[in-house]
Point group: C2
Chain length 199, copies 2
DNA sequence: CACGCTATTGGCACCGGTGGTCATAACGAC
DNA sequence: GTCGTTATGACCACCGGTGCCAATAGCGTG
């Protein structure tokens, strides 16, 4: 879980590998043989490390494609906190989601490969639900903060679920058409929803 | 998968059990020892069949709590089809979701037990994502039909995701407060969302 | 009533992911 | 060099899931 620690000075035996090395080896194998077709033994061998050691870097095989998601969540939290407070709440959250999905050009291919793997593999789709729950909690907390409600109240959780819904709809569309911008699709999904509900 | 077949005349050897019997035994054990703490051997023993046989009634352990979900999906489809065509689309879908979540008083305790298990068990939360995808597809198809779009277009998938989002937010709230009506919570979530987005 | 037909059962072997334990290796500090 | 610390990797056991196949139990027929 803890990403490759950028410890000031290491105390004991140094790690035999790193998250980056594992992910690189793993993604290579996944691309070659598919996710299910790649065993942990394969990955361990490719990394040059014991199979048991992999579990000290990732909680499970399913966690490997998600990488260091906790960091990503911190980013999202920071983005939401930095939205202009004078914006209507819905728009603040929405812009946060959009910004969260803006990737610099060079990060895009890697991100796309990752998401294709995740969204195209049933085991991983299922596993993602747990990650999404953490993501929703972040938006729900933001909404609860601004409205002085509890994060478990109906409105904050609803906004959390709906924000995720828009992002996932955008991802679905992005999978169909890589040429579109992800952030643009999130925006379009929101416009579609508002129009849909406005009648 | 196929629910206990109501075959007109059986040809070969009769089944040794039924979906109902398996679910009953399984839910009993889950309540007693938890989902993870119950092995398939336990269930098989309780039902009085071989472990191997369980897999002919349910694809996996995770599928047992969901029961006959395909039937439920058919219900949902029928409910959507029977909504008044003069209603604005968003409202038709919304009412469909609300009706789908109205349970007759006597079905409620069982349904609640089932959903508590599902929503409270990480493995099952994850597995549910696959079920939700089928559910979303039903609403997306309905929207696509009425708008003469493809079910994979952005608006239909968005509506599918958002409808599910509202239902799940309602379930979250229902878990916190069993005294509320589920359908009422779906309705309240939708009202909250419309207000939220209207500013 | 015996016979064959047929669908279901259930045992068995096997794979892969996951978790526990423990001896051991490699480093920094003293 | 010794000690404390930390990560490693081997061994083991468990469980879910799958392919294979022989055994089985009703049914309809002759």
């Amino acid at each position: 879980m803890t990403t490759t620690p950028a410890r000031p000075r290491a105390a004991g035996r140094p790690g035999a590998t790193s998250h980056a090395a594992i992910e690189q080896a793993a993604f290579g194998l996944f691309a070659e043989r598919g996710f299910a077709g790649t065993t942990l033994d394969d990955i361990a061998a490719a990394v040059g490390v014991g199979r048991r050691t992999l579990f000290r870097y990732y909680r499970s095989k399913n966690d490997i494609p998600w990488g260091q998601f906790d960091r990503t969540l911190d980013d999202f939290r920071r983005i939401l906190e930095s939205t202009a407070p004078e914006l209507p709440l819905w728009e603040a959250v929405h812009r946060g989601v959009v910004r969260f999905n803006e990737f610099p050009g060079d990060a895009r291919p890697g991100h796309r490969e990752r998401m294709e793997l995740i969204l195209g593999t049933p085991e991983l789709q299922a596993h993602s639900a747990l990650r999404y729950a953490e993501w929703r909690a972040v938006s729900a907390e933001h909404v609860a903060d601004r409205l002085r409600l509890s994060p478990t109240d109906l409105l904050p959780t609803t906004v959390g679920h709906v924000s995720l819904a828009l992002a996932l709809a955008a991802y679905d569309a992005w999978m169909d058409d890589p040429s579109r911008s992800l952030a643009g699709l999130v925006d379009e999904a929101m416009r579609g929803l508002r129009t849909h509900l406005a009648s």
